[in-house]
């Protein structure tokens, strides 16, 4: 788990992670918001269903894939958190939605 450091900037951006509200400062990523929300893992792998959390936080490892505002397979570490953003963890392979988001 992660916590805010002392003297941190005000966390003014509210996003919704799996129904929980998480507050992050401007400039934080969606992946950071998932960690703030207190989730130990962000996805389950398609192959073996193992729990994973973000590894590199800089767009390389793809272990932070999540569904953001209805679009699956987003690299959540590269997406800036915006007010009202809805983030869902990705469980195993993505579902193919018959209707476009």
């Amino acid at each position: 788990m992660f916590r805010r450091r002392p003297d941190a900037a005000p966390a003014t951006i509210a996003v919704i992670v799996e129904g929980r509200t998480a507050l992050v400062p401007p400039g934080a990523s969606a992946a950071a918001a998932v960690l703030v929300a207190g989730f130990r893992h962000i996805r389950e792998t398609p192959v073996e269903g193992r729990e994973r959390s973000p590894y590199c936080m800089m767009g390389i490892c793809f272990d932070c894939l999540a569904e953001i505002d209805g679009v699956p397979n987003r690299q959540s570490c590269m997406v800036e958190a915006r007010p009202g953003m809805r983030i869902r963890r990705q469980i195993r392979a993505r579902k193919i939605d018959p209707a476009p988001p």
């Binding site: 992660f2 400039g27 990523s29 893992h41 800089m58 490892c61």
Partner: protein, 459 residues
């Protein structure tokens, strides 16, 4: 849209190149995946405040960012490049929309990333690259809660330990994996480090800062492993273990060659930095005439050197595009090259001191995961090599290794080394993946929406 120079990546190399090129009259676009400039080293720099626990080096990046903001550069943040045609067409995606930008010259400034550290249990939640802890601190003001262990080696590991301590979250241990023999081998380089003494002093300062913060440092750690059921519970090594909530791994950084490999530029195996890097001339020119590389993407030398190599590439672009003459290019390059020599002087010493142990490239245990995406173990790669897989690209057909969403970015360095070891051949002979577009995933919608500028629509 057409520009004279398109630069990929707004880290120190890309920003410095863009600012100088625009100053010399080159019509320049700077494309970057992040929402604000700085790359990874200066991530979130525009928002960092005086009470930042990050230290003076990070604040130095502010000048570069301010110069970029004040320049005539067409800066395009939050934009992903998913394909480059060697003839100069760049395929971009931003906010779910695709477009094509054409450029007379392309400068890749895609930087570096942390060398993967494939130890047993490195896929467990709780285990992260050490740089991830720094990024969370820089961009979200977050520090690890509970017991954090830092393990590995290199200047960045000490820097992060010092920054976490300053941010009120000192790690409970720093496990240094530097093999004993490295110290002796590096000491033989010491006579050459005088021009790099300032950087050396900075490094020693970091080591003392970690000591002063009371972080216990254990040296010569071998056999590192992460243990836990569903997430990290303990960090173990040969002869000891610690209960831990976080493990941050670091064995140095390597060039991000994903795009340069996809472009089939000539690459070489760098035996001193143990990584693939593109073959470059002193101006950053690659094996394709219109494509140039600057910064750590062309070989690891650090942020200051990256900015300097970006400026050299900008001078060269300005000369080739007819904005300055050859004498001006040569004259302006002299002080830049002198500064670059100073920045690089310490490199052979650092490369030797922090040369990863053999087990970082070739994990000993068969069960260790190599490909995090497709969950392929080291043992399966060895097995495929014995069955006849001669290289990383053929290995894909045997195991799906490297075919997941990261497209081999993480497993690439491991796979080349494991196959080379299994077949008893040098890594240079085994080669590495040949990545293909799209460099990053795009939706079918963004692809279908692409405005190619050709009038075949509605025909």
């Amino acid at each position: 849209m057409t520009v004279e120079l398109a630069i990929i990546g707004a880290g120190p190399a890309g920003m410095a190149a863009a600012v100088l090129a625009a100053e010399l009259g080159v019509e320049t676009a700077l494309i970057d995946e992040q929402a604000s400039p700085g790359g990874q080293i200066y991530r979130g720099i525009e928002r960092s405040r005086p009470n930042s626990p990050l230290g003076p080096d990070d604040l130095a990046g502010r000048d570069l960012v301010a110069a970029l903001r004040a320049s005539r550069v067409e800066y395009r943040p939050s934009t992903t490049i998913w394909h480059i045609d060697p003839d100069g067409a760049l395929y971009l995606e931003s906010n779910g929309r695709s477009e094509v930008l054409t450029a007379h010259r392309i400068l890749l400034a895609t930087g570096a990333f942390e060398r993967p550290v494939p130890i047993p249990g490195w896929t467990l939640p709780g285990v992260m690259a050490a740089g991830a802890a720094q990024i969370l601190l820089k961009s979200a003001d977050l520090v690890p809660e509970g017991r954090a262990v830092l393990a590995g080696q290199g200047p960045l590991l000490y820097l992060i330990a010092a920054q976490l301590a300053r941010a009120g979250a000192p790690p409970i241990a720093l496990l240094e994996t530097t093999p004993w023999e490295n110290h002796l081998a590096a000491a033989r380089q010491l006579d050459k480090v005088w021009p790099g003494r300032r950087i050396l002093a900075k490094g020693l300062g970091l080591i003392f800062a970690v000591r002063r913060a009371g972080v216990p440092v254990r040296r010569g750690v071998r056999g590192l492993r992460a243990i836990g059921q569903r997430s990290l519970e303990r960090v173990a090594w040969d002869g000891g273990e610690l209960a831990a909530d976080h493990l941050f791994l670091h064995e140095g950084v390597i060039p991000n060659v994903q795009v340069s490999l996809a472009l089939q530029l000539r690459h070489e195996w760098d035996e001193s930095q143990l990584c693939w890097r593109p073959a470059l001339d002193p101006w950053g020119q690659t094996s394709l005439p219109n494509i140039v590389i600057a910064g750590d993407g062309g070989g690891i030398a650090g942020a200051e050197a990256a900015a300097l190599s970006g400026r050299l590439a900008a001078l060269d672009a300005a000369a080739r595009l007819g904005h300055i003459g050859e004498p001006e290019r040569a004259r302006r390059a002299v002080p830049i090259r002198a500064a670059l020599d100073r920045e690089r002087a310490l490199r052979p010493f650092l490369d030797r001191l922090y040369r990863p142990a053999a087990s970082v490239l070739v994990p000993a245990e068969d069960a260790t995961i190599a490909c995090r995406c497709e969950e392929v173990s080291v043992g399966r790669i060895r097995g495929a090599a014995r069955l006849g897989a001669q290289g990383p690209n053929q290995l894909k057909a045997f195991t799906r290794c490297g075919m997941g969403p990261c497209q081999g970015r993480i497993c690439g360095p491991i796979v080349s080394a494991v196959i080379a070891d299994a077949l008893g051949k040098p890594i240079a002979e085994i080669g590495t993946y040949r990545p293909r577009a799209p460099f990053k995933p795009i939706t079918v919608g963004a692809l279908a929406d692409l405005d190619t500028g050709e009038s075949d629509r509605g025909a």
